[in-house]
């Protein structure tokens, strides 16, 4: 019997070995597969186990954390949620993260290895650091001025520091309170459904993610292309443009809202926003030059990140001359985000250089030690310095005695360009009112703020809607706030 007992013992040993081998498979070799399964709640539990780091505006957190003691323990809170929603986005237990909460998630949630004093050890132990903070470039006063300026109207504002690309304000209205999406309760799903069902799309970040036809504000780009390519050499020379202008190869006639555009100079046409002059100028300058210049301003670049990703602004690369003429005045398929148009204004203000726009000044550990900081970076040189100087002159005149007088700030050099963009089927939609501008304090060597404002549905009679009427006052308030800081 002894032999058989030994055999049975060997069989038990075999069972043990099978258990150990299988346990090793599950716990070591296949562990990652199981850890990564989306149905595995551990990642989420870990994620919310510690309070999230904060997003700072003017050195003060605009976010917070609330300990609920539940499984997904810490919920995000927001101070002034609707005001900063386009900057922060939301961090939801149920719906994930957006915008800075998304782009800087690894810092905020503490998983970024840079946060650990000993990154290698951190990697080995899979331990987690306390969440770090994200210091933004946003200035509260500018943000508030922009939000107040839009005053509940549908629209967006983007404000930049031209020399650095720092984003001073990023506003989209109507907005929402991201705190409503924090937590796991029923009210979160209700809020989500309501926000998504709202026809005004409060969760849409119009400043970064919505593209609009830029209308006449695009004339800055067209002018830059014409000047840089040598199509125009003298701002005051007549441009030999008819009024109305028949789009090349068609019988469509383009006219103006203002008089005096026939054969007007670029200076006059820019100041009063002559469509005929700029359409012809676009067609004459040619597709290649316009595409190139638009591209240098940032159009057709889907990779812009601030670090939230920005919708690509578009300028068609293959068009006939009629389409090109329309595109040159910011119509046809030309579309731009408010941030993109702020970049256009900033390029003029900054001697032609487009600085990479960015929202994050630096990231720090929870105790305030800097982990990473965003360096100022030039994206492109959109135009020659001479062209920039001449465009600065043209834009200043728009505010001084053209369509943009509503943006004037006493004692301050302000340059601007209005835009009123037709859209919808047969231009049936309420036009978008645009205004892009920059402002320079007396004594400063260069403008310190550039702004783009778009108002979707200025609650005014259609004829009254114009960049100068609806959008310029908002831009002025934003610039004033930026200059007074």
């Amino acid at each position: 019997m002894t032999r058989y007992i030994r055999h049975a013992a060997a069989f038990c040993l075999l069972l043990l070995v099978a258990l150990l081998v299988n346990a090793t498979r599950v716990q070591v070799f296949d562990a990652e597969k199981y850890d990564d399964n989306p149905a595995n709640r551990r990642r989420a539990i870990e994620r919310f186990a510690e309070p999230r780091g904060d997003i700072l505006v003017d050195g003060r957190p605009v976010t917070g954390s609330k300990d609920t003691g539940e499984q997904l323990r810490h919920e995000r809170t927001y101070t002034n949620g609707p005001l900063y929603a386009p900057v922060t986005g939301f961090a939801s237990q149920v719906y994930g993260t957006t915008f800075l909460e998304h782009a800087e998630d690894s810092v905020l949630s503490g998983t970024d290895p840079m946060l650990a004093p000993l990154p290698l050890w951190h990697d080995l132990t899979r331990s987690r650091s306390p969440g770090g903070d994200v210091v933004t470039t946003v200035r509260a006063a500018v943000q508030r001025a922009a939000h107040a300026g839009l005053d509940g109207k549908k629209g967006a504002v983007a404000a930049l520091e031209p020399a650095t690309g720092r984003i001073l304000a990023l506003v989209s209205t109507p907005s929402y309170d991201p705190e409503r999406l924090s937590g796991t309760s029923r009210s979160v799903t209700d809020s989500w459904a309501r926000l998504n069902g709202d026809p005004d799309k409060p969760m849409l970040n119009r400043a970064l993610r919505q593209t609009y036809p830029p209308g006449s504000t695009f004339k800055v780009v067209t002018a830059a292309a014409a000047l840089d390519s040598g199509e125009i050499t003298d701002l005051d020379a007549p441009t030999r443009s008819p009024d109305p202008y028949t789009l090349p190869g068609t019988s469509t006639r383009l006219s103006n809202e203002v008089t005096g555009c026939t054969d007007a100079s670029l200076r006059y046409a820019f100041r009063w926003s002559c469509n005929t002059v700029f359409a012809k100028l676009g067609a004459d300058t040619g597709l290649d030059a316009l595409v190139e210049t638009a591209g240098k301003f940032g159009f057709n670049d889907p990779g812009i990140k601030v670090p939230s990703s920005v919708a690509a602004s578009t300028f068609d690369t293959s068009m006939d001359r009629a389409q090109l003429a329309l595109s040159a005045i910011g119509q046809y398929d030309t579309r731009a985000t408010p941030l993109q148009m702020a970049m256009v204004a900033a390029a003029v203000a900054n001697g032609g250089f487009v600085k990479a726009p960015h929202l994050v000044e630096r990231t720090t550990t929870g105790s305030g030690t800097t982990v990473d900081s965003t360096a100022t970076r030039t994206l492109h040189q959109a135009m020659g310095p001479g062209t920039a100087l001449r465009l600065r002159e043209l834009m200043t005149e728009v505010v001084e005695e053209g369509t943009g007088t509503n943006a004037a700030i006493p004692g301050v050099t302000v340059g601007g360009k209005t835009g009123t963009a037709q859209h919808g089927l047969g231009n049936s939609g309420t036009p978008y009112a645009w205004f892009i501008s920059w402002a320079q304090k007396p004594g400063d060597g260069e403008p310190s703020v550039a702004v783009a404002v778009v108002v979707e549905d200025a609650a005014a009679a259609r004829a009254d809607i114009s960049g100068g009427g609806s959008a310029a006052p908002i831009a002025r308030a934003v610039m004033e706030a930026a200059l007074s800081g």
Binding site: M1, T2, R3, Y4, I5, R6, H7, A8, A9, F11, C12, L13, L15, L16, A18, L19, L20, N22, A23, T24, V26, Q27, V28, D30, A31, E32, K33, Y34, D35, N37, P38, A39, N40, R41, R42, I45, R126
Partner: protein
């Protein structure tokens, strides 16, 4: 030849028990420290309780089974202590449902019965007399739950008021006694009579094989009716192992495996409960893909994976996600998550050591009944561990079964303490009568041949 007194090693046992109690108390404190940053208030009481129980059992062994294997008791104490720690730890996640205090009461009863068995049962051969009584009692115990309502799909509980026991747990000891006794008495006939089929299989006469097969079939049938698949698998395995050890016929194993395969196939395709278990085993993530979220097996695998090599640390895992059976059938997942593969391997080795000590007693004993009983009891532990640990780690289809000593469940703890008591008794006889220096020698052909 000089006659030497065989070593008793009671001091070793005591030292190991102290280590086992300290380890358990350490685990208990560790949970508290991880969760609240302070030593839990009950730590002293818990340590004292476990210590007193262990000491009582040790005293009983010291007085009444002085030659017993010194590893059996410490292993049982450590596993039971660890089980209490794990249950206490899971209790923290379910404030309304505390299982650890009840488990401590059951552990006390278990140790009490263990002491009683060690003290009262002076010679294991006494059990042989009660072989038929055992089997009748076992069958009654197994049939009774049919008249009680099902709990979570299985009719394996007897509930009176708030008090519930699982009679099938006790039945397995009784069956081991019966099988051991019957096979010891009939093994020659089983091995040598009857017709030969092929080279390996030798069918004994129906007169010899009939009763045991009938009883076995009956018990498995009842278990299938009660949907207690784990236990029916256990009985099957126990029967085949003992039959093999008693007769030495490899053919029995072949027949056993064939029958098992046929039975498993039949039950697996006919019984929806079993069918779904098999489906879960083959596709643990099917419910996730279907959008119904992870099932218990998937949650269990997640828990094991989360533990990795070294575990998250006691109190820091999330195995409570497994749901209602986290403290019972799936307790091993908590061990796997919080102690890691290292801790899990240690636990497996403790069981392996327990089984090995049982087998060693079987080898050293001289009477076939004792040998078969020791092998049977050790195999019960081994099969239980394999069936449930294999189930929760996805090695084999999941069948409800308690991890010996670790899992919540009074009947299980009590039964396993009785098994340990019987193994202590068996190893005491084995070592007391073994020639000095040859504790594990198994060469006593004369005694063996004539039961």
């Amino acid at each position: 030849m000089e006659v030497r007194v065989p070593p008793r090693r009671r001091g070793t046992e005591l030292a190991l028990i102290v280590v086992a109690v300290l380890l358990s108390v350490y685990g208990y404190c560790d949970v508290g420290l991880a969760r609240t940053g302070s030593v839990p208030p009950g730590a002293a009481g818990y340590g004292a309780g476990l210590g007193v129980l262990a000491l009582l059992a040790h005293l009983a062994v010291r007085l009444r089974a002085p030659y017993a294997d010194p590893l059996l008791l410490p292993i049982a104490v450590l596993l039971n202590g660890l089980g209490l720690v794990l249950i206490y730890r899971l209790d923290l996640e379910t404030p309304g449902d505390r299982a650890a205090p009840t488990q401590l009461v059951w552990s006390t009863i278990g140790v009490g019965l263990c002491v009683a068995v060690v003290v009262l049962l002076r010679d294991h051969r006494l059990l042989r007399r009660y072989a038929y009584l055992s089997v009748v009692a076992a069958l009654v115990l197994m049939i009774v739950p049919i008249f009680f309502p099902a709990v979570n799909g299985a009719r394996i509980w007897i509930r009176v008021g708030g008090f519930s026991i699982q009679p099938g747990e006790f039945a397995k000891i009784l069956f081991a006694v019966f099988f051991a006794s019957y096979l010891a008495a009939n093994r020659t006939a089983l091995a040598t009579t009857g017709r030969t089929l092929g080279r390996f299989v030798q069918l004994p006469t129906g007169r010899v094989l009939g009763p045991v097969v009938a009883i076995w079939l009956l018990s498995v049938g009842v278990l299938v009716l009660e949907r207690d698949l784990g236990t029916s698998l256990l009985f099957f395995g126990l029967f085949v192992v003992l039959l093999y050890v008693a007769t030495g016929r490899t053919g029995w194993i072949a027949v056993g495996l064939l029958l098992a395969a046929a039975g498993a196939y039949a039950v697996g395709s006919l019984e929806p409960h079993v069918h779904s278990r098999v489906a879960d085993w083959l596709h643990p993530f099917a419910s996730i893909e279907a959008g119904r979220g992870p099932n218990q097996l998937a949650q269990s695998l997640f828990a094991f994976a989360a533990g990795g090599l070294l575990g998250t640390g006691l109190g820091l895992g999330h195995s409570i996600l497994i749901g209602f059976a986290a403290k019972s059938d799936f307790i091993l997942a908590t061990a796997g998550e919080e102690l890691g593969l290292a801790g899990l391997a240690a636990i497996f080795l403790l069981y392996a050591l327990l089984v090995e000590r049982g087998y060693r007693a079987g080898l050293a004993l001289r009477d076939p009944f004792g040998r078969l009983l020791a092998v049977g009891l050790a195999s019960i532990v081994a099969l239980q561990v394999f069936v449930i640990a294999g189930g929760v780690t996805g090695l084999i289809p999941l069948t409800g079964m308690a991890m010996p000593f670790l899992a919540q469940g009074g009947s299980s703890v009590v039964t396993n303490w009785i098994i340990v008591a019987l193994l202590i008794r068996l190893s005491d006889s084995a070592r007391a009568h073994a020639p000095a220096g040859t504790e594990s020698a198994g060469a006593q052909p004369q005694q063996e041949a004539s039961p």
